[in-house]
Symmetry: D2
Subunit: 417 residues, 4 copies
């Protein structure tokens, strides 16, 4: 086990730890830790809600989830010698749930959760079709996940950090706030909102305090979206053995991370679609000096996925195009096309006895693949979603004899406003 | 070799063949051929432009390509006993270039092409960045493709039909025309257009003639977009061994197909991004009576990909989010995110010596994967594009020593208006 | 289609073709054809028995198969400039059954066969357990094979040449005859024999005739075994996209090939365990001058398998050790260990209703994997055989509910002496 | 983390632990622990030599390794309700090095070793060619291994237990001793020996003591070979996610395990070819009552490998046939054929600058595949060994420009008698 440079104690709140991380992006949050190029080290990560979601059969905690408090991130970790313009190489040597703790109240202690967030508190990809709150608890059995809320399905986790990134420069942060503010201004009262502006309430900014805290909290960016620095990319393929190259925008790079997922489908479609957990990351870092210019990487992570993600050989796939359910034609809208493909999958699997919520949760959490199949055939984008048939313990393929009916009981806990 | 139920003679024009296919969708185009459930048969397919694009070093033919004439499709093929509400099972037993003909003027005779269409004649995914016409010729060497216009790259083809589908019902056709007409009406003079309305000019409608032809040609749908009937889905994974389930909207199902691709990347991003060719399809068909209702498949194909597509183990991946190059924030726009990811790949590989057009063409034609990685993290969608490093004969990974420089000569033929 | 440099007419016997190949190895067989380094060309290949095995339901032809006449090989093909000491690079660009002919009396015309050879005429890996003759006919459905003699199983073919190699030098041939003669002499009357000595009867030696023929026929090596020149290696992984490096022992290299297989399991255990067929090979050749010394390749082929063989993700595996059924302990005998593993697989699958012969045939023909798992743990070698569960249309995994019983009818044709 | 039912303290000898395991097979060794069908639990395992091999640069410890003391096994673990004739289902939920300990004197604390054992103390697959002792230390970097003794190579571990099995019945044990004794008697003074007879010296038999110990020690079987009960099968594919079915020979099944490997090639050819380490196993067990008869499993494990072993797409393969280096022809001897294939690989890679010992060690430890390619083509078996090219950081493929030369320093520590 590499040296733990950022430890977390499962019995304490995120803000009571030896090092206090952060839940906003700001260049002025001081690094807690410094490592050197070539170093190998371990970082503990807390689940994104710091324990607000429980291992029980009620979705009230999801309905009322305190979105202003997320994501609790470990870091910043300074890398000695890193300067703006460099590429920060990060190898994910290993990643997993909280070691040696397989039971307890914290997600990551042998279990994790997925949630469908209600339209009035976050929403999700299919929030128009699923406006209420739902929660599913998943148990970890070695490398596999199963759920008491969704029978007859189990899959090998494709464990990864949902969120990792470097700190933005002050300029970059200003650009974020400007463009996101402009978007919000086009429909400021929308539910769910178009974007999340800086919010001092519940901000955690490491060791910043006093006036410095207040100034930074007023302008620090929310962690929900992925941006030029990486961030909440939710790329399911950033699993063990992956190598990532992040642009460096501030001296020391200031790498932060969190939002570990035991598994996730492409898109993380239920919003909290990945199986959320705390755990650990073993990392190796290095620098490519001046690499941003040398390699033309102005923004966003470049990466090489690992070679041990679960192998499935048979897939059932659904396609969708960019037409709404009301027959409105949109122009090359891949987001809509993917929505329609996912809805087709839900319609299909519901015929086997699952509730639509169960299927929606499977699509969020299982290692499904979501592809941009066609993006040029005007006016329709075509997106496809691939489900490994091997995650079910019954045959989900179409046949002349019709679908096997399974018993979906007890179903997914639901909570409404 | 199964019986050829729809033969094509490479020395004759598409309209001079034994059976004349079609290049528009209309329920009234009579079936040329009838097969039975359980049958195995071969269909010849012509490349989508019926020979208008040549194996030479000029992009003039792409610049002036007659888009009104595409796609020349083989069929319709009636399936005995098929009725609206059924699912038509189609197995792609085999698919390949024109058998026994490895040289000649027709794409599919040992070669194929990819094109970047100019903004004024079709455009493409990155038409703002690449407004002119370009063409690349690819040679087939068994299962691999190489190009004299793009050095140092070769890849195993992921051969598939870009277009296959059943005939729309009159109602469905009317819905298409209504919704696409409404979209066009929002900006009727846009270049490139938002969508393509029915166009009697150059319409080919099988054996229809006289008044019937005129009536159908006036309302028949263009073949460019994928729609509820399958159609031009450009799903690269519909390769050998795939099983597809199409909804049936008219008696006999009236299956048609064409637009064969020797290889294609997810999205087919240069518009004519796949390696276009003529060739053959060996198919097996069957019916799931009443399957649309039984399996909840109201529209769009459901499919199971084959298990022999090329295997690559190492990928270099690029991510993008839904922010324009001018820092305009869009809301969960996966199309834009995928554009940005592709542009990042182009920026990167250009540092190795390729021209941007060469990289754009590689992304269109090679078996790259395009994924919806994040679709819920407001306001940014995150899309990723994965390039197999093994298609290059030099090392394309980032390293401290910087990129190897290759000689891109002679480059990609270009043609401007 | 590349130029056919070695054509075969399906309506004529092997000896009545434009070029006559050979069925023995000898350095003096003149090359029929000459190609140059860098050339791409097609070679037709006849099934190994030149049509003696029929598409019917009797195993008499297998029982009486004329082993003195095999393998009918296409070649020799001279490579311009090749000299002893070079490595001959051969790319298998494509390989398949007889093009455009899917019915007819020759294996390769849409069908192929596997046989269990009787102990008195060839025998096989498990000849003590299966001393009689059996035959199974397989039908090709695109890339898949099924059999009327073995229900409920189908698999994607892993098409490859069972036999390819360069001509031996006179010295090398002499070494073969010496060592094989010494082995035979240890038990000259064994049934089946330990090895096959030169046999002028039924020898085919290309254009050799008269005294030259007689001299060569008396010393030419049989084609059954693989040897330093490659030869009948029966490596199932030499499929499309493979690159092979053969040592060159004579001027011109004199490459020959044949014994095409639609599919085969590791070991080709029933002797004629692969699905035998005629067909075509598209090849590209090149030379590494002096490569034998440079790369330390004194003998036997070095190769890089292709990347399109069928992908299966779930395997059921059986292990065996080097102890006989009579509890006799052998010392690190991997051959015996693999036999025991195969017998375990037969015992197991027979519990599902298959006859032992059916399972034996499946192990010979399907893309099973046979591994040297342990070779040092004295006194037991441990070998393992892996069967893809996806080739069966029922569940073959062990479970508390016991095996599903299938109907094995009509079973495998048998013929005894 | 599941409950640890068999704990080991890294600071204490194997015989000073809370539970004392065993290093011989005997039905009378009492179970230390009892679990129930359906249970999930963790077992600690000690490296097979209990710490006798050190993390240093001398091979003296390998030369003098106390083979009479191996393998130190964890167990026996009784499974409630298991009876002779049942199948014991074992799921490997997880497996890895010693958790939370990445430095220290015990293999498994962040490092492991491979050894070539000298001919006079164990020998190995190629002991005639490599008669001396050699040792290589491997460092674990997350899921990858590298070595200071072998530059330019790293690979993803295919972690697995080398040894797991149920206890033999008294009858079965007697059969082992009988047959192995008979083999030894054929050449009792052979170096290395043909097999290892019972040896009371250094025997560890759990809680047995006094006369019971003496009687059992005199007849208990050595753990080196795999046998009907599973045992030291050294199957590299028994990695995470695997499900194994063991025959049950005694009440309670009495499952034992150990000899963990961070990685291993097929055959474990250097004898101690796997990267040896201690660590943990997370297991789930269940019973198929009467499964031996129901499924025809009289002996040896049946298993289903997991789906997360490392994925490599490009392999360089070597073939060998059953002829000795002195041109002696052996009859279908797959062991010899595999030896020759491995020697070819050594000859080849040595041309790149590696010492033969370095290549031999790579073949032992890296995830190479060893296949029974042909076992029926009299008189030559053909075996093949596949090396993933991606484990080297330079190009190991043959080319016209000849091999890249690497610096093999400092090389592999050696020790002679």
């Amino acid at each position: 086990m590499p040296e733990v440079v950022f430890p977390l104690d499962s019995t304490k709140k995120f803000t009571d730890q030896r090092y206090v991380g952060h839940n906003r992006w700001h260049p002025d949050i001081p690094a807690n830790v410094t490592v050197r190029p070539g170093d190998v080290f371990r970082v503990h990560c807390r689940e994104w809600f710091d324990g607000a979601i429980h291992n029980d059969d009620s979705a009230d905690d999801v309905r009322d989830a305190p979105l202003s408090r997320v994501h609790v991130l470990s870091g910043p970790i300074a890398v000695e010698g890193a300067e703006p313009g460099d590429l920060l190489l990060v190898d994910i040597l290993d990643v997993g749930p909280i070691p040696q703790e397989d039971s307890g109240p914290l997600a990551g202690q042998g279990w994790g959760y997925t949630g469908i967030f209600p339209k009035q508190n976050g929403g999700g990809f299919l929030t128009d079709e699923f406006p209420d709150a739902y929660k599913v608890i998943w148990d970890f059995l070695g490398i596999k996940a199963t759920s008491r809320h969704i029978p007859r399905v189990s899959f090998t986790g494709i464990v990864h950090p949902g969120l990792m990134g470097t700190a933005p420069s002050a300029d970059l942060l200003a650009r974020w706030n400007e463009r996101e503010g402009e978007l919000i201004a086009t429909d400021p009262d929308r539910v769910p909102p178009l974007a999340l502006p800086p919010l001092p309430q519940d901000a955690i900014l490491g060791t910043l305090s006093g006036e410095e805290f207040d100034r930074a909290a007023a302008e620090a960016a929310r962690t929900a979206p992925p941006r030029e620095n990486g961030g909440n990319q939710d790329i399911k393929n950033l699993t063990k053995g992956s190598r990532i190259f992040y642009p460096v925008f501030v001296p020391g790079a200031k790498l932060s991370m969190g939002d570990l997922h035991f598994s996730q489908g492409d898109g993380e479609i239920t919003f909290c679609g990945a199986i959320e957990m705390g755990g650990f990351l073993d990392l190796h870092v290095d620098l490519i000096k001046g690499g941003m210019e040398t390699y033309g990487v102005g923004e966003n992570a470049v990466f090489m996925p690992g070679n041990v993600d679960p192998r499935y050989d048979q897939w059932l796939a659904f396609s969708g195009v960019s037409v709404t359910r009301d027959n409105e034609q949109r122009y090359l809208d891949s987001t809509l096309a993917y929505k329609r493909a996912c809805l087709h999958a839900i319609d299909y699997l519901s015929k086997f006895g699952y509730t639509p919520e169960q299927v929606y949760m499977i699509l969020g959490a299982a290692p499904i693949e979501g592809r941009h199949s066609g993006v040029v055939d005007i006016p329709n984008a075509c997106s496809t979603v691939y489900i490994p048939t091997g995650i079910f313990d019954f045959d989900v393929r179409p046949s002349a004899s019709g679908p096997t009916r399974i018993d979906p009981a007890p179903g997914v806990p639901k909570s409404s406003f």
